[in-house]
Symmetry: C2
Subunit: 262 residues, 2 copies
Amino acid sequence: MLVITNDDGVRSPGLLALFRSVQGLGEEVEVVGPNGPQSAAGMSITFYKPLRIERVALDGVRAYAVTGSPTDSVFLARYKLFKSKEIKLVLSGINLGENLTLQSYYTSGTVSAALAAALNGIKGIAFSMLMDTSREPPVEAFDDAARYTRAIVKEVLRQGFPEGADVLSVNFPNHIGPHTRIRVTPMARTMFDEFVLERRDPRGNKYYWLGGRISKNLREGTDVHTVLVEHNISVTPISMSSGSEQALRSTTELIGQIMTEV
Amino acid sequence: MLVITNDDGVRSPGLLALFRSVQGLGEEVEVVGPNGPQSAAGMSITFYKPLRIERVALDGVRAYAVTGSPTDSVFLARYKLFKSKEIKLVLSGINLGENLTLQSYYTSGTVSAALAAALNGIKGIAFSMLMDTSREPPVEAFDDAARYTRAIVKEVLRQGFPEGADVLSVNFPNHIGPHTRIRVTPMARTMFDEFVLERRDPRGNKYYWLGGRISKNLREGTDVHTVLVEHNISVTPISMSSGSEQALRSTTELIGQIMTEV
């Protein structure tokens, strides 16, 4: 079984495109997602209020619409709705807008749904597409991307999930043509030059806007360079772990000094 | 300069304890934190509304109280309040309650403040303490932990940040005595056995609670085993990166098959 979710809500054309693209691969496909937009939800989990699940039918897709976050949706799929069935993959997206750099790793609802699946023992793939997000695109805007989502999922089902990876994060450029390539790249740290804008309200009190301009120094060989500069497709494996071997060793050395001081 | 923040708000006794513990180490200490509780904020960043900064004085601590998240606070410290000064470390905590396992990596506001600092080029240390969080503890509840926060920060200032690590996440047990040890450990994946509770409201409609019981199979050598089972202090280095070398190689092999199919 494949479970599809997202953070734009089950009515998003990106989810419909992803759903259609993985039909006929020999796996049951179910949709469990937020009943409304949950972008930048990160990995929020709803513990303080109960959740409801509504059964909805949209463009021929029967979906479970959850009154919560993408992570809540994964949780309900895994421990309630399909707990007796084997969920082979959680597929998240296709997100309206790219999810690039480590910042997306920590803040994106799309990526978090795949990470939440991985924390609960299921591999996940997040799909996102660079686009003008000022208005909702038609489902056809994802036609080219959908050929790739299908090919990637098909190959993962055939070969198994890449060793050492818990999640794949796939980002599409806004136009896919015959010259578009797929690159496997690590995430850049950030893509923005950050700034703070100071203003004064009519009463003379200061307030601040946080902002970021896309950096002019995007490093080659990273996800963001692949998509924004080369206009190619980036595939980034995520391995969930805290610290590298080197970090564990050097921290152990540092802490060795401390017991004598306290 | 050391910048102190947290996710329980600038009025938290845990923040006061951390602030006092790092006085007299030869560095200026400034407090910039949320003006109210922001637990489980994760790395939320406020882009859609402006922020205000209020100057407050609490128990002798002059603090900048921000109408936003821990990450917003770090952002304002870095790019507005102290942009001309060198911030050597961002210290986050001491959080009322532990932040253990990879789940805390993705959801904790305390840890996220340190990660946000690291994304912006400043090393961070997150401090959290296992405790009964049903009522606010007095600042004295952190006295023993504070000796360790001071020793750790002092040693990092003296030796430099451990190589290969971007952030340290420190967790204290609820009681620290003469037999308490510090262990450097990686994060466990999770500490809970998850479940979903189904109930019916007075109108007969179903609703669901997400829940988790602390697992009986906590693995030795992990952060959660160190704190919950051994009652020791865990120090976990975090290295921010997306995928391991192995994951990058195996994903490249997988993707190699795809270009021919699309």
